[in-house]
Symmetry: D2
Subunit: 283 residues, 4 copies
């Protein structure tokens, strides 16, 4: 989505665009719920590490980080969080994670997982201080989060122990286990459940249909979020998989709430509505 | 916030207003994190019920419902969810709750908790079918969620067993335990932690300061959300309580992310940004 | 139970005795499952503390400690454990708790909970180093775990702020909140669910019936555990409360397992069998 | 262990034997903690199934079943338990699982996991009623738990879709996914962490050393559990992995508790002591 917004800001977007990546179902499923499982899967398939009792630091407490933290905590790991955003940091506190700077725990952790979208979140200086046998991997949005380039120096030896798994060996024999050369663990070393693919593909298809069918003038050369009602439609198509039964509003209830019985069910300002204004109106 | 939006829509709002209720920190703390604790507290103080093994249905899976579900599940209750919104319903599925219609489980549950903001979510017909000794209470936004009025009929006897606790007795001797006469359990039968009061009061104070100090023209006669940077400021003021240490962006990282080192840290379209447009622009 | 074993060892036990305290259902329900709830209840009723984000140290990781740790972790507290027994310590690690010495965390924790059965687990020296506003309480077996006597010195002021809650005030104004003067929090400041009372009372009644009805010679002047089959009987009497349905063995399966279809269902050496030998035979 | 006890009972055991399988650390690590991870690993590697929202029935709530249930619940599955033993059934209730007979849920579950040690826990009749696409696997002690032989009939087609994964196809096209042909999933489709192997190997080595070094007469031709002190020793050897710090008893505390400062730390009748008497003394 980021690139589209930059194009839009620069006035260079020549067609309406739909930011499906930030639709609620896509966000929750691709990121939180999918990563909650793929972090475990990716670590097991590559390293067979036991989670119980391990000290792990998760860099970034967005949707991906929340998923990783929840899964690892549930399996008995002790999880620390690093954050730059005080709101996410406070959420991490309330969810039971110590919020630290990476340097505070770098010498003691068994696993580092980056989920920030930022660059050089783990630096060579920090990798130098990690324990022998510790694991470093990336679940974020790019392959820049771990400064892998800094590890390609003559004094360090790389040993490929199996597909997607390198041991980086320091002169004193210390080994740090680097997964997927710092690329995305969930794409490189794990699988994506068909259920999540279905959510994503349905969202994309509906966005294209909406853009194609929309009456002249509904969308300008800007970036839009999927209309909430379609987001709800994607979700409703996937409920039967879980044998989930929706409650229907009575006429009286719909009137009381000021809602249409068929949705959308949330007022526009609902937390996950997330409309984007490109014109600076939002303070 | 709802009333303000109606005033605004009707063109009757005579001053700028700040919807502090939907600021991120307020939402998360007052609702999710606070209710996660007050549902347990409120039930214990009034009924001494053991949570382990109890079957509970939570009506509504918004922030309040999520908090109630998480707490009760963690303490060994078996929790069902009812929902009208397919997105929230799918979230409930992924979080491990069966999504049902109330009628499917009404005969078997030990506790009903309403968190919908809707009216008549639990009807007399449903109360008639509940088990002897079951508990009904409300954590939602009004005292209309349980149709309490329908219980004030001659064939039912009310017995006040202690403050905020009534036994409603059917002719066959069946007792249903009604808490706070259907008013908010968290306000009537539980306490609000000072920490949450501090979050709320700080948010309100900052909103007033912003409205007072804002240059002419920044705010019109409309409803606004707290600027994200202030929301972040509220959060940052409360981090020392938890001895939480924020990570600071380097100049290089801030540039890479296109962010100011002092925030705001999320792009406007971030999921919890929740800007309100009153002018219909949002599809 | 301890006193009976000492009498038995000293040859002073004049009748057969049944150690109902160590029966499986009693242990699990009175200790683990009951304390999982009463630690939350006791802390809330006395202090209204918010659990989310709080740092807590639980001294002792037996059944009571496990219950306290599970509940507090689930509600977002960060929990440390102290232990003297390496097996319990390793369990705490695998369950996701850092195992520390009390002195390592004494300056940072918000709450200390003792569950050891030991004496002077929290000393005056340690109380001196606690933070302002921190809470100290006891969930263990006696009122000796916290060295409360050491706090009754002239330089400290005691202020009773409400029933069961004292502020102990240091000369510099620091306050430590002492609950129930160091007596059992779960008995002093919380309630015991009727369900747990029923388990306990049933177990005690069955033990008396067994001792009364047992043929001459089945029991000597020693301490016995409740026969496993009766323990199972207590449990089976309480299953209907949860609408739980037991599976019955087929004849073929019972034969395959070498079990009677009506139980007992576990071989004698099963982990929770816990036979007591008083004669030193057990290595 | 079972075979040794039968030999002992029959008077055919010609040497002392140590039942290391039932030592506390072995039990907890090989079973509960290891299976908590390997159930997830085994299911992912073979089927890529998403856990969130899936309905799962776990047959048997011993250590293995507890581990499976805890892991799957934590990742958002809805878990049912079947049990023959009322004590374990009551534990399942308190841990938040519905206890059902398999037939009650057979048509709705997505996954069946057997952990009983019993035979024919899942019968052909039940397999006939499972949903299309459901998964059947075994985490128990033998390959008899699922009646796999009953599936080798002419009207059913077997399709090997990948190593360890068979689709069994009914005449109407329904497919049931059978893992490892009903053999142990954790051995066939998952890995065992080196940490667990270390616990097991250490326990076995210490048992052999004890039997070899024991003075004449300490052990007769019977089956013994590892002396508790050695069990503790195994645990203490593995604590540094987690940087866990044991608390040491003071002289005064050791005297108060009647314990040696170096252990063993639990009285013989402690729940996990589990001494075996073969002479019928235990009621």
């Amino acid at each position: 989505g980021g690139g589209l917004y930059q194009l839009s800001k620069a006035g260079k977007l020549s067609v309406p665009a739909m930011n499906v990546n930030d639709s609620v179902t896509k966000q929750k499923f691709d990121n939180l719920y999918c990563c909650r499982e793929s972090i475990l899967d990716g670590l097991k398939r590559t390293t067979d590490v036991m989670f119980g009792g391990k000290q792990v630091v998760v860099c970034g407490y967005g949707e991906v980080g929340k998923g990783c933290c929840a899964a690892l905590k549930a399996l008995g790991a002790i999880v620390y969080v690093t954050e730059i955003d005080p709101i996410c940091a406070l959420q991490a506190c309330m969810d039971g994670f110590r919020v630290v700077k990476l340097n505070e725990v770098i010498r003691q952790v068994d696993v580092i997982i980056t989920c920030t979208g930022n660059k050089n979140v783990v630096t060579r200086d920090q990798l130098d201080r990690m324990k022998n046998g510790s694991i470093v991997c990336n679940m974020g949005h790019s392959n820049t989060e771990i400064d892998v380039a800094s590890l390609r120096t003559p004094e360090l030896t790389w040993e490929r122990v199996r597909s997607q798994v390198d041991h980086v060996i320091w002169p004193d024999g210390k080994r740090v286990i680097l997964l997927a050369e710092g690329r995305l663990l969930n794409l490189s070393c794990s699988t994506v459940p068909t259920f999540v693919l279905s959510i994503t593909a349905t969202t994309q298809a509906l966005a294209l249909i909406e853009l194609y069918n929309a009456p002249e003038g509904r969308y300008k050369q800007d970036v839009y979020l999927l209309p909430k009602k379609m987001d709800e439609y994607v979700a409703s198509l996937h409920l039967p998989t879980f044998d989930a039964h929706l409650t229907e509003l009575s006429d009286e209830q719909a009137k009381y709430l000021g809602l249409n019985k068929n949705g959308p069910f949330k007022p526009n300002y609902y937390r996950y509505r997330a409309l984007i204004s490109q014109n600076g109106k939002d303070a």
